[in-house]
Symmetry: C2
Subunit: 333 residues, 2 copies
């Protein structure tokens, strides 16, 4: 049988990384692409731009806390923000399945406009394609974005002792979609954390010297992003399980479905790597900001772990947290 693309290769974890590296990186290779950050840093001096792209294929398109339109604007803006860039311009390219209700389309586009307005960014170019019934799933949206890198921010070399900070509760987007997908009802429905990280990151500019890396844990969750960071750092990470902020409702849902919140997508959080000596100060700053009052130092880099991510609980037991290997829940964003 011929080798084919499999659904698990879309999970956002290891199989996706392998597909991207073997198929795309190998052929498109250039220094900017191979940086492998959430946005491409363009140019080396003067007015520094960041450029990124993301397609949104989420099912269902409307969920507690947002919809595919809001997700498409914030998702791409967040990829710029974690590269220290202020999102300025977005494109909007839609592939619509014939028969998609105009009312839903209007509602999605209104969400996009509202999200763009909140971030004061402009959607300046677009493309609209329609495919026959049965060749899409309602609507797919691609947004690409251009941002201006603030204060020449750049990811830096990470050292043992540096701290890992989560800006807020993890797994809320994934949990909200899972609950919806599996038809699980609760008194107060789980809300996605779908939102903009930029307002938080722009308040951290004083700390840019001490922030060594920022990533947003979407597909593949915090676990996958931590593995990417360990790989980048060429160091292990010890995660303090009791410090990882997870909402009670998310925990309950995970227990019910046998899922691990570490693998559930966030759509409004960032994982920051901070210089050891500044981590506490940075955390206190985050705790005072709107949208990151639940921030925590969730781990630190260790020499000895050889690029592995370990999670340790208060009883002292530890387990390896690997990158996502298969598909917990496809079509999450």
């Amino acid at each position: 049988m011929k080798d084919c693309v499999r659904l698990r290769q879309g999970c956002g974890g290891k199989p996706t990384e392998k597909l991207i590296k073997e198929i795309f990186y190998k052929r498109f290779k250039n220094d900017i692409l191979l940086q492998g950050f959430d946005s491409a840093f363009l140019g080396k001096e003067g007015q520094e731009l960041a450029f990124t792209t993301d397609s949104f294929i989420i099912r269902p398109q409307f969920f507690p806390g947002g919809d595919i339109g809001k997700l498409a604007v914030y998702g791409t803006a967040n990829d710029l923000s974690v590269c220290g860039a202020k999102p300025l311009y977005l494109s909007c390219a839609v592939i619509i399945e014939e028969g998609f209700p105009i009312e839903s389309l209007e509602s999605i586009v209104e969400s996009m406009a509202a999200a763009a307005g909140e971030l004061k960014l402009s959607i300046v170019t677009g493309d609209t394609k329609v495919v026959e019934r049965g060749f899409a799933d309602g609507i797919y949206i691609n947004t690409s974005g251009i941002g201006r890198v603030m204060d020449n921010y750049r990811p830096k070399k990470i050292k043992a002792g540096d701290a890992v900070i989560a800006t807020g509760g993890i797994g809320e987007h994934g949990a909200a979609i899972a609950a919806l997908r599996y038809g699980i009802k609760s008194k107060s429905p789980l809300q996605s954390d779908c939102g903009a990280i930029f307002p938080i990151i722009s308040e951290l500019r004083d700390y840019f010297e001490s922030i060594k890396l920022m990533k947003d844990p979407t597909r593949g969750g915090a676990a996958t992003v931590l593995n990417e960071i360990a790989e980048y750092a060429d160091l292990g990470i010890k995660v303090f399980e009791d410090k990882v902020p997870v909402k009670q409702e998310v925990k309950a849902l995970c227990d019910m479905l046998g899922m691990d919140p570490m693998y559930l997508a966030c759509e409004g959080r960032a994982i920051l790597v901070a210089e050891e000596s500044k981590a506490l100060e940075l955390l206190n700053r985050l705790k005072k900001l709107k949208g990151s009052s639940n921030a925590e130092i969730i781990g630190s880099f260790e020499d000895r772990y050889n690029k592995l991510v370990y999670m340790e609980n208060s009883f002292g037991s530890s387990r390896i947290i690997s990158a996502l290997e298969g598909d917990l829940l496809p079509r999450i964003c």
Copy 2:
């Protein structure tokens, strides 16, 4: 019955324009978007950038003269080129249907790399999503692009008497796809004109002062683009039917299928509007360049026609060429 998106709204002609204006422009409104050119001009001084996006959903993905990968790179590069911009950076976001052969994916990505290499542009950022079988058609590709506008080029006000120039034979991409789709075989198969316009446009920089507008006639064909130009100019256009360059094979196919080459997509041509006094000189320059030796002055702007596009043949009879109203051939690019 609720109002739904219809396939004809993806034709690239009037129904698409209406959908875009009513749904997207109305909500995203900002000066840059409302310019409505093939790329967005960003910023007003200094290093001027252009930004554009396009999704490619073509069926079949491989055709004489190219494939979806080549199309995705040149298509977006062309949208930048007709705004006078040198294409610099591209993104590549794919939505792949589960089960798509890896071999085909590799071949498509190789085409993209080759096309990017030819234009010396870098594909610097990307996204890879996989959807379940039955929720796409093999592969959809979005490319967004950033270019640097050369010599502060800008579209200008068009006057009666200004000339319309086609850089080469029209309808060849559409004809190649139609022949393939309808299973029409010929001794020498129709080749798509899928290619880069930039090498031609970069040779016209001396004439940028006299070039009032450039557009590439893709979905909806030359007819639709001429109508867009008439609308922009607020003038009518007289098209000289005998001057419109159409290959014999394209004509023959159109006769057979009852199609009009004016409505068939091009993927490597541009329509230029040139100041009357410079049009002949510009044409002669084009005829000497590789890739535009078949260029022709195909029409001129007229005060009296009130934004209509008329086509006149050598017998003096004329007919109105309106923008595409429905779907001749969906999924053309």
